[in-house]
């Protein structure tokens, strides 16, 4: 929801980034204010996940130009774990498996780290167990997942739910959901998006990365951006997503190039 008095949470200016010497992001500008929901759409390989990982600070990506401020601070001054503690959350497109590390232990450590950051009380294993079970109900998750290794042997959809469970635990200021909808069946999508909506407040913001309009029926965006070849080539309201659904992406690219040549 767009508010009159909302503050800029994230400001990206002229962001360029490379991986293995190849430039992937070629000048991104984006402002996200608290309370807003932004959707980033675009074809495969347009750089959406790269943008998400650059924001989270993955060291495989080199920032070669531009600036990012997060709540007024230079994001590049922060290590990945500091960004997370400052409230920047990424729900991964492909959550990785960490065999042998129990999910409940991992979730509790992540939760307590953020609690400590805010000077709040940490929870012991028993307290946490009760707390996390409540959150799991919200996402219709079986508590058995607590005893498994982190994402170990989870199905695609189960991994995505586990990501949103972490979002629910950590209550980030800015959540970037990278194709959280892919791999979810229609019921799961409803449950998960419902969970995300419950977490949305006027003080935080969400960036949804998706291919499909489908998810945007449940989480209604304030802005829709189209990415192509490392740039945001068009920005519109929620109607833009519907347009894309019926007309595809080609026309946006054609329009952009025509404008660039004019």
């Amino acid at each position: 929801m767009i508010h009159e008095d909302s503050k800029a949470l994230l400001e990206i200016r002229g962001l360029r980034a490379t991986v293995n010497g190849i430039e992937i992001l070629k000048g991104i500008d984006l402002t996200v204010r608290s309370g807003e929901v932004h959707a980033i759409m675009g074809t495969n390989g347009s750089g959406k996940s790269t943008l998400a990982k650059v924001l989270a600070g993955h060291n495989a990506y080199q920032v070669t130009g531009g600036s990012i401020t997060f709540e007024g601070n230079n994001l590049f001054d922060l290590e990945p774990e500091e960004r997370a503690r400052a409230g920047l959350f990424l729900a991964f497109q492909y959550p990785i498996e960490i065999p042998g590390v129990s999910n409940s232990h991992f979730l509790r450590l992540a939760y307590n780290t953020v609690q400590a950051q805010h000077g709040k009380d940490e929870l012991d294993p028993l307290e946490f167990e009760d707390f996390v079970r409540e959150k799991m109900k919200l996402l219709d998750m079986n508590p058995d997942f607590l005893d498994r290794g982190v994402n170990e042997g989870f199905s695609g959809g189960e991994k995505k739910r586990n990501e949103i469970l972490q979002m629910a635990l950590l209550e980030p200021r800015l959540a970037i959901l990278d194709e959280t909808d892919s791999g979810l069946d229609i019921d799961a999508l409803r449950i998960v998006t419902n969970g995300v909506n419950k977490l949305a407040t006027k003080d935080n913001a969400i960036i949804l990365v998706t291919h499909y309009q489908r998810m945007l029926n449940y989480i209604v965006p304030d802005f829709v951006h189209v990415m192509q070849a490392g740039r945001i080539i068009k920005t519109g309201g929620k109607e833009l997503a519907l347009d894309l659904e019926t007309r595809g992406y080609d026309w946006v690219g054609a329009e952009y190039h025509a404008a660039a040549e004019a």
């Binding site: 990945p80 959550p95 960490i98 232990h105 450590l109």
Partner: protein, 478 residues
């Protein structure tokens, strides 16, 4: 590695002359006269001298094993001095005299204050009254009839027991290093648990070694009589330095009917520097004989040190229904090499063995698991379960698994599972994205990986082992 420790480790052996035979350090080299000298100096009975000479005779005919997956320059056995009189370690007068590098390590490992002092060689009475602790400990054991002393003392005080069991599990000519050890061992530990006695506490070498050094050819003999049980802890998490590069120990365990011997090791010998210079060669023969019915021998080891580790704690399951266990974590970093594993020899009916091996390699190191499961024709109903997992940190290290399985009985069941995994950047990034730094992340992953082994360790040992691994792998990721 500080210069002080470097010097300590790389100190050349002192030169000696024939005329110095009467002095405290024998001249370099090995021959019958040196062995006679050792035996005389230690005031040994004739049978023990015979034992040594037989071993020496066999050793002369043997060759250094070439099959382990390790590389090192040829050892000049004539350049080693095989005897120096047991003397108290050089005492320092306060903690201020201890090398700061060593203190930093103690700090990291959380070694208790009084142990730090003892381990660093500070006169312990400055810090606490160790003598009284050791004495109470000895008294408690004596009350139940347990003998726990140095093997030299046992040779003097309990010669019949030593004679009855020494070399019965690891014969003098068993292998090259065992033969060498049998010829020249100077000290070690002896432990005897009489019939029906459950040892009231973990026996730890820490309480035994504070007066003298055991030397580079250590000999250990543990006997559990019928229905007895004991848990023995060898080593400690604090780093151990020695001027001797080659260490070749022999450990023999004998479990009679219904006896239970649990042997836990945390090995942290100096491993050489990050360029692979220096470090101890640890060539150990450890073997347990589960002789009686329902007896059990359990090895748990956490191997983190040494430039080269060559060791296969084994079980000979002779008694019906006897049980053998091997739980191992072996960590190698920098240029360390480890070739370790176990042998489970099933002879008796319905014997069971479990092998859980976890190898962690980082840096440029090489970590091999080598295990033999042999089921003899007599071992009807024998069962073995083996699980060998390797974890790689970085892409310059190696992990290898060499399982040998020989089954000569149709009614036996042998299962083997193996896996290799890697701590990847993306795993660490996942942790970081949830606010968890890389050190904590690695520690969680490693602990998860080693859980099945750490569970076997006595409680405080497990806590220390966890920290030790973190310390050993510090800086290897991220």
């Amino acid at each position: 590695m500080s210069a002080v420790l470097q010097n300590l480790v790389n100190q050349p052996y002192k030169h000696g002359f024939v005329t110095e035979i009467e002095s405290d350090i024998a001249p370099k080299g090995l021959n019958e006269d040196i062995i006679r000298l050792i035996s005389t100096k230690k005031n040994e009975p004739a049978w023990l001298l015979d034992f040594r000479l037989k071993a020496y005779e066999q050793w002369l005919k043997m060759e250094e094993p070439k099959w382990p997956n390790v590389k090192y320059p040829k050892i000049d056995f004539q350049a080693i001095s095989y005897y120096s009189a047991p003397k108290p370690k050089k005492k320092l007068n306060s903690m201020d005299e201890v090398d700061p590098e060593l203190l930093r390590t103690f700090e990291k490992l959380g070694v208790p204050m009084h142990e730090r002092a003892a381990l660093a060689g500070v006169a312990v009475d400055v810090i606490f009254d160790s003598v009284s602790v050791a004495t109470t400990y000895k008294q408690k054991l004596a009350e139940v009839g347990i003998i726990f002393c140095s093997i030299s003392e046992a040779v003097q005080m309990h010669p019949q027991l030593v004679k009855q069991y020494l070399g019965t599990v690891v014969p003098v000519g068993d292998n090259y290093y065992a033969a060498l050890n049998s010829a020249v061992f100077t000290d070690g530990t002896f432990c005897f648990i009489p019939k029906g006695v459950k040892c009231p506490m973990d026996l730890s070498t820490y309480f035994r070694i504070n007066t003298e050094e055991s030397g580079q050819f250590e000999r250990t003999l543990i006997i559990g009589e019928e229905g007895s049980s004991v848990s023995y802890l060898e080593g400690c998490t604090a780093p151990k330095f020695d001027t001797n590069q080659l260490h070749a120990a022999v450990v023999e365990l004998v479990a009679l009917d219904n006896a239970d011997i649990k042997y836990s090791t945390v090995q942290n010998w100096y491993a050489g520097d990050e360029n692979g210079l220096g470090g101890i060669y640890n060539f150990v023969t450890k073997r347990g004989l589960a002789k009686g019915v329902n007896s059990r021998i359990s090895w748990t080891q956490v191997e983190t040190g040494s430039a080269i580790t060559w060791k296969y704690p084994s079980c000979i399951l002779q008694g019906e229904n006897s049980v053998g266990e091997f739980y191992s974590v072996a960590v190698t970093n920098h240029y360390q090499q480890a070739d370790t594993g176990t042998k489970m020899i099933h002879i008796g009916k319905n014997t069971r063995s479990t092998i859980v091996s976890k190898g962690i390699s980082a840096g440029h190191s090489n970590n091999s698991y080598r295990g033999l499961v042999r089921i003899a024709p007599t071992a009807a109903g024998a069962r073995n379960y083996s699980q060998c997992d390797s974890m790689l940190i970085g892409d310059k290290c190696g992990a290898h698994t060499f399982p040998y399985i020989q089954v000569r009985n149709q009614q036996a069941k042998v299962e083997h599972e193996a896996s290799t995994s890697k701590i990847g950047e993306d795993q660490l990034f996942y942790f970081a994205q949830r606010g968890i730094g890389s050190e904590e992340a690695v520690s969680m992953i490693i602990n998860g990986f080693c859980k099945d082994v750490f569970q076997q360790l006595p409680m405080e040992f497990a806590v220390e082992a966890t920290k030790l691994l973190e310390f050993k792998l510090e800086g290897s990721v991220g």
